[in-house]
């Protein structure tokens, strides 16, 4: 009776041990993909001599939100190539150890563990989205290696149950800042008294934005006449928009990503909804124009990290460099990826020694770092203090931009 079962269980354990060891990959199979062309890429930790600095890349390169991860990594690689071409950090070449977390939280945790315990990294960049980034923070605190995200905007990211997460940083403003800024813009600049919110209920990002827009708009004396929701990957919004059309409102707030927002704007305009449509940085992608069509993109305002109208030489240089390489305009994820890598490499350059603790201290001490997405300083909660831009669209092209300082 017990024969087979115990045998099995023993086999199970034995096997898992076997894989435990076999799963310890030979350096060739884990092949840290080095992005830079300068110099041969060392493939084992031993060769990480004093000449190279290793930075981990833990991004969503496949799976549900691969678009954000891939765009961020393009920006990161651009930055690293620039720094290496200019002689590296204090003469040391930067090498990227790149892994794909498949848009899975558990994989993000496992990869963070892997790069921190086996790959000798000094800091890890990514993941792009809040929940996956948060899945790596306990690992970072435990191994004393900082993790930095360029686009994890949820309020809770850098705040743990016992105060600030010591080894977690980000360079994007959080959702409450963005939602609040848009609500203020709606009440003060657009003189809106009533608003409808149509949010992506399957995204924590959209949820956070909606909550903060709601509370600030109401505090400014406005009323929210309706709050509707959709789910990511939806394509048919006619039913809900017909419902919204029956309401009286001055503006419609659409927290979400361009994939759906583009279709919503198109369908809303076709159904005769002419009120201004407001949004957040999820609007910022060249695809928005393709999805919605230029005719629908009038009276659109969204908060963003930077504006292409910005005459700041840093922004112009970045856009020009990106265009030269990829033939189209960059989106916010490209810019944030670029900035994150620059931000991390700047801190490594200022760190007193090449250890995780020293880099952490240098990151926390960052003041007035000139980034493409705005000059930023790191506050005591490891959030950036930086300006936000409200961009206005006319026929699908940016026509106004207003900078709001925190």
């Amino acid at each position: 009776m017990k024969r087979i079962t115990l045998g099995l269980a023993a086999a199970a354990i034995g096997m898992s041990m076997f894989v435990g060891c076999a799963g310890d990959p030979a350096p060739s199979s884990s092949a840290p993909t080095s992005s830079e062309s300068t110099g041969p890429a060392p493939s084992s930790p031993e060769s990480t001599g004093p000449e190279t600095i290793r930075i981990g890349i833990n991004y969503e390169l496949s799976g549900g939100v691969a678009a954000y991860g891939q765009a961020s990594v393009i920006g990161i690689e651009m930055a690293v190539d620039e720094v290496n071409a200019a002689g590296g950090i204090n003469g040391k070449t930067v090498e990227l150890v790149k892994y794909d977390n498949k848009s899975e939280e558990a994989e993000a945790t496992t990869l963070a563990t892997k790069m921190m315990t086996q790959d000798n990294i000094l800091a890890a960049i990514g993941p792009a989205t809040s929940s996956r980034f948060m899945a790596t923070i306990p690992v970072a605190n435990q191994n004393k290696i900082p993790v930095i995200s360029g686009s994890a905007t949820a309020d809770a990211v850098t705040q743990g149950p016992n105060g600030v997460q010591p080894y977690a940083f980000r360079i994007c403003f959080n959702d409450s800042f963005q939602g609040t800024a848009m609500a203020n813009y709606a009440s003060r600049t657009l003189n809106a008294k009533s608003a409808v919110i149509f949010k992506d209920s399957s995204s924590d990002y959209a949820k956070g934005l909606a909550e903060n827009f709601n509370s600030t708009f109401v505090a400014n004396g406005g009323t929210i006449v309706g709050e509707e929701a959709y789910v990511a990957k939806d394509t048919d919004f006619n039913a809900t928009l017909t419902r919204i059309r029956g309401m009286e409102f001055d503006v419609m707030y659409l927290p979400g990503y361009y994939e759906e927002v583009g279709l919503i704007i198109k369908a809303a305009r076709e159904l005769g909804i002419t009120a201004p449509i407001l949004g957040a940085d999820g609007f910022d992608a060249p695809e928005l124009l393709d999805l919605a069509g230029a005719a629908a993109l009038n009276d659109i305002y969204f908060t963003n990290h930077y504006s292409s109208l910005d005459q700041d030489p840093k922004v112009l240089a970045f856009i020009a460099a990106y265009k030269a390489k990829h033939g189209q305009d960059p989106n916010a994820f490209h810019a944030l990826g670029y900035d994150t890598a620059m931000f991390v490499m700047d801190a490594i350059g200022r760190a007193s020694s090449l250890t995780g603790e020293a880099v952490q201290a240098a990151l926390a001490a960052t003041k007035d770092f000139p980034a493409v997405t705005g000059t930023l300083s790191v506050d005591e909660n490891h959030n950036p203090v930086k300006a936000i831009v409200v961009v206005g669209l006319k026929d699908g092209v940016e026509s106004t931009s207003e900078k709001i300082n925190p």
Binding site: A67, E228, V231, N238, E259, L263
Partner: protein, 294 residues
């Protein structure tokens, strides 16, 4: 009032698209008792074929629609020959697992080649843009086009099934494949034809969705495929009129749920209805109870 009418039109357009997909499902099920899980992905391939015809080859809408239908029917027949035919005598679970495998292969091969992001169709010809406004009720030209094309294709299908020799053979095979074989019908060929017809309709649905919603991606087939299956089961799987009825019911139901402000529960409601139907009347609204033969 105008909102109610508007919602009816919304439900009708959505239902037409589901109907085109559901017809393929129900035909294949009728003949093979197979839930062709990959059917939704054939619809996705149709959308992409139409996209490449209209953008890269600069073809017109109707040419692209036709090419997508032909391409999908070939693909459908190929899939049947390669993946399903060797399993003619295995268990239904084995068939269903294969279908899921085919679905994954189609989806992620496309992801590999075109990326997971959304694409939008090229600008449409003049006659497809614009809309009529009847006292606040807005009917888009595209909606008329979609309902029109769907109904035309469904009538054509009905004629094929009811009036032609092939159609007669299809009905014979779906009633009793063994006896049909004894009567001199080439069952394998008839099954291929069924797959081709069903896939062509799915391909047409793909192109129509592409121009209507203006957004396609490699994973777009999963949910509409499942919804269309729900529609087919709702009306009585294996029955062509059942699939039509089910599709319009599901389309209206989704519109109703969203119109009452609960769109985040839309998918849950559709699946709950499916489970309820399966429990109360597994043969669907129009289905007859058939005793299982031992």
């Amino acid at each position: 009032m105008e909102d109610v009418l508007q919602q009816l039109i919304n439900g009708l357009s959505l239902g037409s698209i589901y109907a085109l997909i559901a017809l393929g499902y129900t035909m294949v099920y009728g003949i093979l008792q197979l839930i062709n899980f990959a059917h939704g992905d054939i619809y996705m391939i149709g959308a992409f074929v139409g996209y490449f015809c209209m953008s890269s080859l600069q073809l017109g809408f109707f040419e692209s629609l036709l090419i997508a239908m032909v391409a999908c029917s070939i693909l459908g027949a190929l899939i049947e020959r390669i993946a399903y035919k060797p399993l003619r005598n295995s268990t239904r679970i084995a068939l269903l697992i294969t279908a899921i495998g085919v679905s994954l292969v189609l989806e992620y091969t496309m992801v590999y080649f075109v990326g997971a992001g959304v694409r939008s169709y090229p600008p449409l010809p003049e006659f497809m843009i614009g809309s009529f406004n009847f006292g606040g009720v807005i009917i888009k030209n595209l909606q008329i086009l979609i309902v029109g094309i769907s109904v035309t294709l469904m009538i054509a299908l009905q004629l094929i099934v009811k009036k032609t020799k092939v159609g007669k053979a299809m009905r014979a095979v779906s009633q009793d494949a063994e006896t049909a074989r004894l009567m001199g019908i080439n069952v394998d060929n008839i099954i291929s034809v069924t797959f081709m017809l069903g896939s062509a309709l799915a391909g047409a649905a793909g192109v129509l969705v592409g121009v209507y919603y203006n957004s396609i991606n490699p994973l777009m087939g999963l949910m509409p495929g499942l919804k269309a299956f729900v529609a087919a089961v709702f009306g009585g799987i294996g029955l062509i009129p059942g699939a039509l009825l089910g599709a319009y019911v599901v389309g209206s139901l989704e519109t109703f749920v969203a119109a009452t402000g609960n769109s985040m529960f839309r998918d849950a409601v559709v699946f709950a209805v499916l489970i309820a139907i399966l429990i109360v009347k597994p043969t669907g609204l129009l289905g007859k109870n058939v005793k299982e033969k031992v």
